[in-house]
Subunit: 348 residues, 2 copies
Amino acid sequence: MAGIAHLVIMAGGVGSRFWPMSTPAVPKQFLDITGEGRTLIQRTADRFASLVPPERMWVVTAKQYAPLVREQLPEIPAANLLLEPCMRNTAPCIAYAGWKIKAVDPEAAIVVSPADHVVTDVAEFRRVIAHSLAFVTDRPAILTLGMKPTRPETGYGYIAVAAGQTQGILPVESFREKPSLAVAESYLAEGRYFWNSGLFLWHVRTLEAAFRTYTPALADLFDRMSAAFYTPDEQRAVDALYPECQSISIDYAVMEKASDLYVCPADFGWSDLGTWGSLHTLLPKDECDNASVGDRVKLVDSRHCIVHVPSGKRVVVEGLDGYIVAERDGTLLICRLQDEQHIKEFSR
Amino acid sequence: MAGIAHLVIMAGGVGSRFWPMSTPAVPKQFLDITGEGRTLIQRTADRFASLVPPERMWVVTAKQYAPLVREQLPEIPAANLLLEPCMRNTAPCIAYAGWKIKAVDPEAAIVVSPADHVVTDVAEFRRVIAHSLAFVTDRPAILTLGMKPTRPETGYGYIAVAAGQTQGILPVESFREKPSLAVAESYLAEGRYFWNSGLFLWHVRTLEAAFRTYTPALADLFDRMSAAFYTPDEQRAVDALYPECQSISIDYAVMEKASDLYVCPADFGWSDLGTWGSLHTLLPKDECDNASVGDRVKLVDSRHCIVHVPSGKRVVVEGLDGYIVAERDGTLLICRLQDEQHIKEFSR
């Protein structure tokens, strides 16, 4: 039953791969990356708006981003912002939200979503989420959304499924790391591999049981913190104990160990926007395969480029093939798309 | 005798080839193009400072640039700014200054200088100017400074000289338009060709006589305007009659017709800074032949580039070979150096 769903938005990333557009001060989830007038975290909340009321939306983020979240998502109650005093990867972040939710709603179904992904077919997205919520409400399953691969992408992790579907949902056989191109091509040909979207759903009881089973030390820390939840001492308790959490992703902490794992195959135009290349793929292109965000950008004798500048910024690009041209807050980057893995180094 | 010299700085250009660094609002003579802390017109006045006192410096420019000249050259009396109501090329500009000067100093020797050129050896420049002033004070000669060519440059006009030097100064045989590369190479080999610098000297009597002989209509217009010179009506008279002047360069109007033309060969590290390429040549380069103006510019795996951005602007350029990267007032240009002749089109 979707009516009691909660949404947990993970919004603590620093977005270093999109420098200089994304910076530690304002990482990509807080930016209007696609130039459509809403930031990525706003678009994330928007696409859940008809499924989850704001008082059941939770945002876990670093303390310094609290003002950005408040400003961009004013409809979410301030009490639903969970502020990490330090970065500890996704497992502690999700445990924090889970322990908070179970204290007020022990029958909650929970969707966990990154704040910085993109979905183009929102209607289909909502249909899949509603279907998936019903699935995890009825059984102790961990359900991930598996994206039907459309190309042999080497930038994503994959999930292999076994046979035996229930309501169109398939059991997980195993998680696979980012593959080589040859392996990605075989996955695509085989047809039983899906992109791991990082979107997953579970009942709060399933969440708690998983943490208690696979990461008991983490569960213990949140048991201790939870004594102060919903009291004036909460932040103080979190600040004191959260740093003791192991820094570990939910994939390593839970997913790769758990049973009762399922995949809901989905096809709603998803991208994790993890690279400039993925943004280039997503944006509309001109006849020379150039994508631009910015309202005064002129490309002359150029192809396969992505230009991302603030609105009002006048740019003339002549004679570039396969480059990123990006500017934010007075910092300009010009870089070959094929060399974007070096961007983190440039930003230092 | 250099003691009675006057300097006429021609500062009416719009500098469209250096867009976006140079714009019609603030053309290149008013910019610190080389990043050394003084604008080109300031450096022009500076290099004459020991030869000509400020009250004998005259600046001819468009009306809209008067505030820039006042701000950048506060030592020059406001009355020495001659304001053109419209662009009429260099001949009317020089005639205006000439008629103004002859009214107050009929024994003046005059140096005419563009506002936007660069000289690297200022001591040698001053020696050449002093020597040249003495030459034109003593005789009715028009003396141009001819730069010893150091490469087969196709971007400059040339002057061919005849034999028979006087005090190291040679008679002009003819002026030559910008040559092809093959012709420029033959000029360089032959040794009697010099780059036309646009710097020239003459006695005010020689100037007046030349205009009366070769452009009598222009001389007549300035005779009429001069009735109002040094009165409150001057600008009104200039505004009324200056537009009637033929728009013509001093080269076409006088130089290519006059006799008594001479060249003083000179070698003081001159550039007309007419192109991004010439600025690249002039500026210091890193080990990969990159030149940059700006204090936070980082070039990675790039060569033969010129980066020109405001101080404080952070720029990372990766993987470019032979490009211009220039920004001013929120406008960014990225363009192949070899295509810089198209820049005028981009600026529209």
